[in-house]
Each structure stands twice: as structure tokens, then as C-alpha cells.
């Protein structure tokens, strides 16, 4: 791999709460290469969104505390000054959020919101920015963009709003796009359209993408590499095929087995994962997944497993070997 676009090193995010500090992200490290799509997979509370917000200093501090480093093209995002990070936000690193209904300002026109980054980062004039905004809307597949640029968000459907968010994200030709559950709120047919759009833009612009989701189906369709997060810690990281084929980590495996797959006769009972995701303020001392892991042994609940690399580009945090799994 050539120099990564982003190299996250030992990222730890904790929040001060009434019951003490809660570590929501714990020693999280990963790289994103040029034109690569990295999927970060996890359930709610796994720390996947927080870890990406931390990159752009978008978490309120306090109560949040962010430690570690995130080298973006060699510069550490975490330790940047306010004005430095502003120069990066929306310019070199763009972000798309989950809910296109609330992520767009309801009282500003689409055009206004699209033009902002163009004017700030590219120094465009109003006319130039407006022309570019229309162009961008066209790029993301909004029909008759010239007529829609002065519309307000509520006049757009959910899918179109997410397209606007994407247009906003790519407006300054960023090096890295972080999409945080960008299709979760959309219907499947719309999701398919958006995924298609992202893939196309990525090819055209050579964009690196961090795709944050809980949906393994989406991951299978879009990612080059996958990071699985659970309870704030990385469980497994690998290229896409290895994750799905080898299912080295019990959590990855359980997750895949618990999802129904369309087609076929009435299948067998789903293999549900018992129990509940952990409360970040009361993480177990050992492996965060241990209490729900059907293969867990004594050691799992005491020692947190270190990441090990069973193969090139594959890292797993588990004391056990797939051979030990007894289904």
C-alpha cells in the first residue's frame, strides 16, 4: 500500500459522565489508502460514529476527551488548532451524516448550503459558487438542478437530500469522504441509488471513503476493507472477502449468521446473538464481547485480547482460533 491518506493511531475517546469516564472508543488504529473504501461496522454504541466525529474535532470537549493521533496526509488532525482544522473540514475531508432530514438546515436554500464550502475554501464568488453548485447537483443526479438550487430542503425527498449532502461533501474535491450511516435512513431502492452514486464518484475522483454502517449487506457491496468495532474496540480488520469468507472473529461470525438472507425455502432458525451490547460506562474487564460470545472461555472475561495478524492485512482481537469454535 502506498502512503495512506489517513492513518489513525491509538485513537481513544472518552466521555465524562455522572458515573465516571466512559471509554467509547478504545485504542482504535487503522489506515485508509488512496481511493480505498474502508467500512467501519458496528452496532449502536460501538463507537463508530464517535471515532469519526473525533477526527474532525466535531465532538464537544468537554465532556469528550480525545487522545491518540490521526495523521491526514502527514498532519495530525487531533492536535490541529481550530483554524487549521477548519481548513480541513469540508475541504480536504468531508463528512456525510445519517439523517438527511435534519442534517440540512431547514431554513436555508440548498444553493446557500452548497455554496458555503465553495466560498470558504475555494474563495469563489457568489456567481461562480452558484454555477458550481448547480453543476454539483447535476453531478449527484438531481434532475433540473438549475430550478432546484433555490429550493429548501423540505421540498426534496429523503434520497435527494442525501444526494445534496453528497454534493456538498464532494464540492471541494476532498481527499477523504466520511459517510456516517449515510444510507441507513433511506429506503432500499433509494439506498441502492446512493450507493451506486458513491461508487461512481469514487471512481471518477479517486476519493478515499470511510463508510460507517451497521449493515453488513451494504458493506459487502461497497467496501474494500472492513473494520469491525464492538464496545469501542476493534474486533477484526481485513480486506472484504476475508472477513466474509473466514469469519475469524466470533462476533463477525455471529453477526453474519444472525442476518436473514432472502431467497430459498423457509430457512432454519436464525442464530441470534444472546444478550445485549455493552454499556460503555460498564465495560467488562476482558473482551467486550465475552459476555455474549458463545465460544468464550474463562480467559476472555479477564484478559482483553490483543490484535494479532493471522494473515497479511488481517487483524483479529480474539484469544481463540476458528478451529476452537464449536457450533
Amino acid at each position: 500500500m502506498s502512503d495512506p491518506v489517513l492513518s489513525v493511531n491509538e485513537l481513544t475517546v472518552s466521555f465524562g459522565t455522572r458515573r465516571g469516564r466512559a471509554k467509547v472508543v478504545n485504542n482504535f488504529s487503522y489506515d485508509v489508502g488512496e481511493a480505498e473504501t474502508l467500512a467501519i461496522v458496528g452496532e449502536s454504541g460501538s463507537g463508530k460514529s464517535v471515532s469519526s466525529l473525533a477526527l474532525l474535532q466535531l465532538l464537544p470537549t468537554p465532556p469528550a476527551r480525545v487522545e491518540g493521533r490521526a495523521l491526514f496526509r502527514g498532519a495530525d488532525l487531533i492536535s490541529m488548532t481550530k483554524s487549521e482544522i477548519r481548513g480541513v473540514r469540508g475541504n480536504r475531508v468531508a463528512m456525510i451524516f445519517q439523517d438527511p432530514m435534519t442534517s440540512l438546515n431547514p431554513v436555508r436554500t440548498i444553493g446557500f448550503q452548497l455554496m458555503e464550502p465553495l466560498k470558504i475554501h475555494m474563495g469563489m464568488s457568489d456567481t461562480a459558487a452558484r454555477a458550481r453548485a448547480i453543476e454539483l447537483l447535476d453531478t449527484v443526479g438531481i434532475p433540473s438542478p438549475g430550478g432546484r438550487v433555490d429550493d429548501y430542503p423540505h421540498q426534496f425527498s429523503g434520497g435527494m437530500r442525501q444526494r445534496v449532502m453528497i454534493a456538498m461533501g464532494i464540492s471541494c474535491s476532498p481527499d477523504l469522504l466520511i459517510a456516517d450511516e449515510a444510507t441507513t435512513a433511506l429506503d432500499v431502492t433509494t439506498q441502492a441509488q446512493i450507493l451506486d452514486e458513491i461508487r461512481r464518484l469514487q471512481e471518477e475522483m479517486g476519493l478515499a471513503v470511510i463508510w460507517i454502517t451497521h449493515d453488513l449487506g451494504v458493506v459487502a457491496g461497497i467496501a474494500d476493507r472492513v473494520v469491525v468495532l464492538y464496545g469501542g474496540s476493534m474486533m477484526e480488520e481485513s480486506v472484504i472477502d476475508q472477513i466474509f469468507d473466514e469469519r475469524r472473529h466470533p462476533y463477525t461470525r455471529a453477526l453474519l449468521e444472525s442476518v436473514p438472507v432472502s431467497g430459498g425455502d423457509r430457512p432454519h432458525r436464525l442464530k441470534a446473538i444472546q444478550g445485549l451490547p455493552p454499556d460503555p460506562t460498564r465495560l467488562p474487564p476482558g473482551c467486550p464481547f465475552a459476555p455474549r460470545c458463545r465460544h468464550a472461555v474463562e480467559r476472555c472475561s479477564n484478559d482483553a485480547p490483543r490484535l494479532r495478524a493471522p494473515a497479511e492485512g488481517h487483524r483479529v482481537a480474539c484469544h481463540l482460533d476458528p478451529a476452537d469454535f464449536h457450533d
Binding site: 444472546q274 444478550g275 454499556d279 459476555p291 455474549r292 474463562e298 472475561s301
Partner: protein, 306 residues
Amino acid sequence: MTATSSRDDHYAGEPIAEHRSRLRATVDTILLNRLAVTGLIILLLLVIAAAIGPLVAPYGINEISIPDRLQGPSASHWFGTDDLGRDLFSRVIIGSRVSLMVGFIAVGIALLIGVPIGLASGFYGGAVDSWLMRLMDILFALPAILLAIAVLAVLGPGIGNAMIAIGIVYTPIFARITRGSVLTIKESVFVSAARSLGATDIRILRTHILPNVVAPITVQTSLSLAFAILAEAALSFLGLGVQPPDPAWGRMLAEGRGFFEQAPWMAIFPGLAIVITVMAFNFVGDGLRDALDPQQRSVIESRGQG
């Protein structure tokens, strides 16, 4: 397989939050709010003062002594004396009874009329709603003090009628807040759920809607108490309100305003009593709001009426 997982096979995990009743959770939240605690302590002291007032008051509230009039605060008269030589400390202490009673009963009246109107209006909607709310709008559009004065003129002055007058003025606020909450709660899924189980309207109102509108109403109650005390003061300033010689703070303050230069203590002590009490109610109201209902904003509506 571990022991943990075998139990998980049977039950789908333990509750994720520690067991605290809703009330307990509310109390905890309030106790974490320093201002709310301050307010509660002040109110507690006031209630105690009102309860044992006659025992601690060094003088009778109507012990007139013209030679001792307009004396400044001293060891024998902590808050000084008024224009009739009455001990202000005793009057302020006993006055807490009158002022708190005016507040509580006035707001109680507003609650008793306003909440059922709001419930009926919000729950049944349609024509009932239109008519009741238009009526409330009309009351709302009437200048509050004039309305109170007119009601007082009709009923005749006196502490009881002052309470009724203030109560009528606050009725539309409670009706509106209740209606607003009912409209929200009525649309909530758990009400549909109850309906899907075959629950009758009465049952839904009683079991599901009423307990859930208690929160905003409680908040509004504490804020309205504050404003009822201010309203009593305003009415007393205009020469209505509580009848002499009952020592209501508003009346004492209104009487004291003519003595600002000769005997500032006549206005300062009842004034402070009002300010502190009103603040205490506001603190508690804000604390309750944080604990029960972060979206509440009725303070605006209620004070506007003052």
C-alpha cells in the same frame, strides 16, 4: 459455555438501567440542580414559617402602637415597624401564610378549571376543542390585570375573591398547556397501543394521558405560583387584593411604597420576601422542567400575563 451465557439463554438480559422509579429519578435530577435545591429549601422554610408563624412571631400582627411607628430595624423590631407601629418581622412571617395561600389556592383554581378544559379540548378535538379554545383565547386576549380587577369588582374584594380572580386569569394558560401536552401524548404510540388493546376513551384519559401531562402541569404550577404572588402584589398596588388587616406581602409592599424615603424597610422587607419566594418557585420550576420536561417553555406565557 459459561454460566453467564446459560442464563442469557433463558432470559434476554437484565435491565440496562439501574432501578429507579420515575419519581425517584425526578427527585434525583432535581437534587443535582443546585438552584432547585436552594429553591426547595427556601420554600420549605417558608412553609415552616407559615405553619409555626404565630409561635415565633414576637408581636401580634395587628398590635398597633403609634408611638413606636416607623422605627428602623433594631433588636426589638428586627425588620423595623410600619406606619402604625406594627412589628414588620411578625407581619412578614405571618404574611407568608396569606401570600402562600393566595398563590396556592389561586393556582389551584386555575388547575381545577384549566386542566379539565385542556384535557377535554385536546382529547376530543373537533368542535369541543374549537369552542373551548376560542373561549380561552378570549380570556387570553383580555388584559390580565383588568380582567382580575373586573372579577374582583364583581365578586367584591377579599382574599378569597382575589384568589378566584387570579385563578381565572391563569386558567387559559393551564388549559393551553394541558391541551398541547394531550395533543402530543394522544398521538403517541403507546396510546394507539392501548386503543389496540380495546381500552375505552375514559381509560386512556385516566391511565395514560393524565399521568403523562402531569409533568408539564407541575412545571407550570410552580412557575404560576411565582406569578400569582406577583399578581397579588400588583393588585394590592392598585388598591384591590387582600383586605386589611391581613398581612399579605403584596399589600404591605404597596403600603410601604409611600414610605420609601422615611421608612425604606417598610417596602424592603416585604419586597425581599416576595422576590425570594418568587425566585424560589422559579428555581424549583426550572429544576422540574429540566427533570421532567426539557421542552417546556410556558414561563413566557405565564409571566406575560403578569
